[in-house]
């Protein structure tokens, strides 16, 4: 196990090069979650303590006696990452320390099993950043549907058959539910936009109180695409309006990454096997495609994503990435 013995002040100075999650872990090729976790810890810096819910991240980073973490890290259970983080934060407060607590979990632990503990942590306004790596199903147990799985997506528990076209229900609108707690900051992000993740993590780190970040993170195995195209697939989710990048402060929408010319959802869906049944000769497929396009259109409408002309807010969004991006926000 690695030990950091230089002072924190020195580490803070070196922050941009700090890696909280080292390479050598056992994530799959193209894993969106591994990339997102690295970006979050880089941006958060070394004076951090992590509460990690059960899931892929916990499993692939800590096969005993190895650990990929350079941060104090604890995994307790699937559904209590937010409560563990609450306790850590209370301890830091009791000890008069400023160490920031970050809780992390997948969509299963955030949207479903750990939802109550998360709501409690937000309501009590603990000084914790909760990061949800949203890959839209229970990937660690073998791709079962969660309440985050998009409508019509095929998983092992929402398979396609004579009677079914994948998941029957809608993806839970978690960010609105989080925002309804009136926390100081809640935002969505995507691994396709690393500088945006860094910016949002730093924003959240500066807040004294509860904040929330939902990061869209492709799972090549679960979504059915090559690991080499994870970023492209994630970017299409944003560019079609299916996964809008937004910021909410005290429940109010304060920022959204505009889309100049939203792409049709089919471009995003056809890149993944989980939506393969939507491109077969089947009248139901057309109907589901229309539903999904309607969801994207609804996002574009309610979040005002369709920007026209020069948009002063569009500095770190899609266009920035198309230009090659900027290394540090």
């Amino acid at each position: 196990m690695n030990e950091i013995s230089i002072p924190l002040s020195e580490l803070r100075r070196k922050q941009p090069r700090f890696a909280g999650l080292e390479s050598g872990h056992r994530a799959c090729l193209g894993c969106g979650q591994a990339l997102a976790a690295r970006l979050v810890t880089e941006a958060a810096g070394p004076d951090v303590m992590i509460s990690n819910a059960t899931g892929c991240l916990e499993v692939f980073t800590t096969p005993w006696p190895e650990s990929a973490w350079r941060l104090p890290w604890m995994h307790s259970l699937f559904e209590n990452a937010a409560a563990i983080a609450s306790g850590m934060e209370a301890a830091m407060k009791a000890q008069g320390k400023s160490t920031k607590v970050i809780a992390m979990g997948g969509d299963g632990s955030t949207f479903d099993i750990g939802f109550q503990a998360l709501s409690g942590m937000l309501e009590r306004n603990h000084n914790v950043l909760y990061v949800c790596y949203d890959n839209e199903a229970y990937m660690n147990t073998g791709i079962q549907r969660s309440s985050s799985t998009p409508h019509a997506a095929a998983t092992t528990t929402s398979p396609v058959g004579k009677e079914r076209m994948g998941k029957r229900h809608l993806k839970k609108d978690i960010i609105s539910i989080i925002a309804a707690h009136h926390v100081a900051y809640a935002a969505t992000a995507s691994v396709a936009y690393p500088s945006d993740i860094r910016k949002k993590v730093r924003r959240a780190m500066a807040i004294e109180g509860a904040s929330f970040l939902q990061i869209h993170a492709p799972c090549p195995l679960g979504w059915g695409h090559d690991g080499a195209v994870s970023i492209e697939v994630a970017r299409l989710a944003v560019q079609t309006g299916l996964f809008p990048l937004i910021e909410l402060e005290r429940g109010e929408l304060t920022g959204a990454m505009p889309l100049r010319t939203p792409k049709p959802v089919a471009e995003y869906l056809k890149a993944q096997q989980r939506f393969g049944h939507l491109f077969k000769d089947d009248p139901r497929a057309l109907e589901e495609l229309e539903h999904l396009q309607a969801i994207a259109n609804h996002h574009i409408e309610i979040y005002g994503l369709r920007g026209d002309g020069v948009d002063s807010y569009d500095s770190e969004g899609a266009d920035t990435v198309r230009r090659g991006g900027i290394r540090w926000a």
Partner: protein, 390 residues
């Protein structure tokens, strides 16, 4: 100078004497008075700690776990359904070897719904890997709470102090409250060697493959067995400071030459003391008070049973389809021991059923039976049941 205090109030004050830094709890009868009293101590500025009122017992245990792992002394309390909701976290706390203390205000587990006392809740989590100490009165509950922190922190094992709900928690008793100097001289500040710290980052709660898992379980089991010495030492050292001993792992009172022994746990012991003095004509009995159920004191039990021909085991829970829980463990400890007493196992006081003083003559009569009761629920009135259920 003894003070008249309600059990919960005394326990809250004992917790405060231990200077906890984080207290997390969720209300459930009959635990509520403990946490209410702690909340008042905080509100009055008599206890400085982070008091976290959470949204479930599951989170109460989790918050305490997170706090203790992050280097702060932590406390929680619960009962019954709350203990069962915590169950997964309780295993986790013990498996991670995090030292913290909780009070279980013992209550029956539903269904059927019952808010009254028995010990099915703490017995349901007996395999979670915690130390479990049972208190026969509120003075013991006060002393055991303070001892529990020292035991937990020296062994890196969590300790559950079990106190009978209502019978103890809601009962006024004359109690000698220790003072802060006594508590401080006994219990040093919390200093958890594996505490999470950005200066020395470690990973707690990793994935363990079959290559290591049995070794982890062995070391946990061994730690509990080794904790017997710490439990005894804590009780002895506390006795040096206050003059009061809780009885170590197990204690024996009554006629040392008696041929009949009655082993019990929790407040039943107090009832039996009264019953024995109330019915001297029923003959003498040795009273064995089991204080530490986990670790289970097999050696001390053998010693206590020397010379007995009959041993009654009274307990406040059962394992349906098997029988008594403590009774089964006592049988296992005495199995194959030459001259071991016959064992008569009864569950008493289930769901708050009153335990009358005449239990003593009735038990003394029952042990004369040529065939001892393998297990029976004492005082059950079969006439209340349909024929098929009797």
């Amino acid at each position: 100078m003894p003070q008249m205090l309600e059990g919960s109030q005394a326990i809250a004050r004992a917790v405060a004497l231990c200077r906890p830094q984080v207290v997390a709890a969720y209300p459930i009868t009959p635990q509520t008075h403990i946490v209410e009293n702690i909340s008042k101590l905080v509100a009055d500025g008599k206890l400085h700690c982070e008091l976290i009122s959470v949204e479930s017992e599951f989170s109460a245990a989790s918050v305490a776990l997170g706090a203790a792992a992050a280097g702060s002394r932590a406390y929680t309390a619960s009962s019954s359904q709350g203990i069962l909701l915590m169950c997964e976290v309780l295993y986790n706390i013990a498996g991670l070897r995090i030292p913290l203390v909780m009070t279980c205000a013992n209550r029956a587990v539903g269904a059927p719904l019952s808010i009254w006392n028995d010990q099915q809740d703490s017995m349901a989590v007996r395999d979670a890997g915690w130390i479990q100490l049972y208190c026969s009165d509120n003075q013991e509950a006060v002393d055991a709470t303070i001892q529990a922190y020292r035991i937990a922190e020296r062994t890196e094992l969590p300790v559950m102090v079990c106190v009978d709900g209502f019978v103890l928690t809601h009962t006024l008793e004359a109690i000698e409250m220790p003072n802060q100097e006594q508590a401080d001289s006994f219990l040093p500040p919390y200093n958890f060697a594996r505490a999470l710290n950005p200066q020395h980052p470690t990973s707690i709660g990793t994935l363990v493959s079959p290559d290591f898992f049995p070794e982890v379980r062995h070391s946990h089991h061994q730690a509990l067995l080794n904790a017997k010495a710490e439990i005894i030492a804590a009780d002895q050292d506390w006795a040096k400071i206050t003059g009061r001993s809780g009885g170590g792992l197990l204690s024996v009172e009554g006629d040392p030459d008696a041929k009949v022994g009655i082993l019990s746990i929790g407040s039943v012991v107090g009832t039996l003391r009264d019953a024995i003095s109330e019915f001297p004509e029923s003959g003498p009995a040795k009273l064995i008070k089991l204080r530490s159920f986990r670790p289970f004191p097999s050696e001390a039990l053998l010693e206590a049973c020397a010379g007995l021909t009959e041993l009654v085991v009274l307990e406040r829970a059962l394992s349906p389809g098997s029988g008594g829980i403590i009774g089964t463990e006592v049988r296992a400890a005495l199995a194959g021991v030459e001259g071991a007493p016959r064992i008569h196992n009864f569950a008493v006081g289930l769901g708050g059923r009153d335990i009358p003083l005449d239990i003593y003559p009735r038990l003394m009569e029952a042990v004369k039976s040529p065939s001892p009761a393998t297990f029976a629920i004492f005082d059950v009135n079969l006439e209340k049941l349909p024929e098929a259920d009797r």
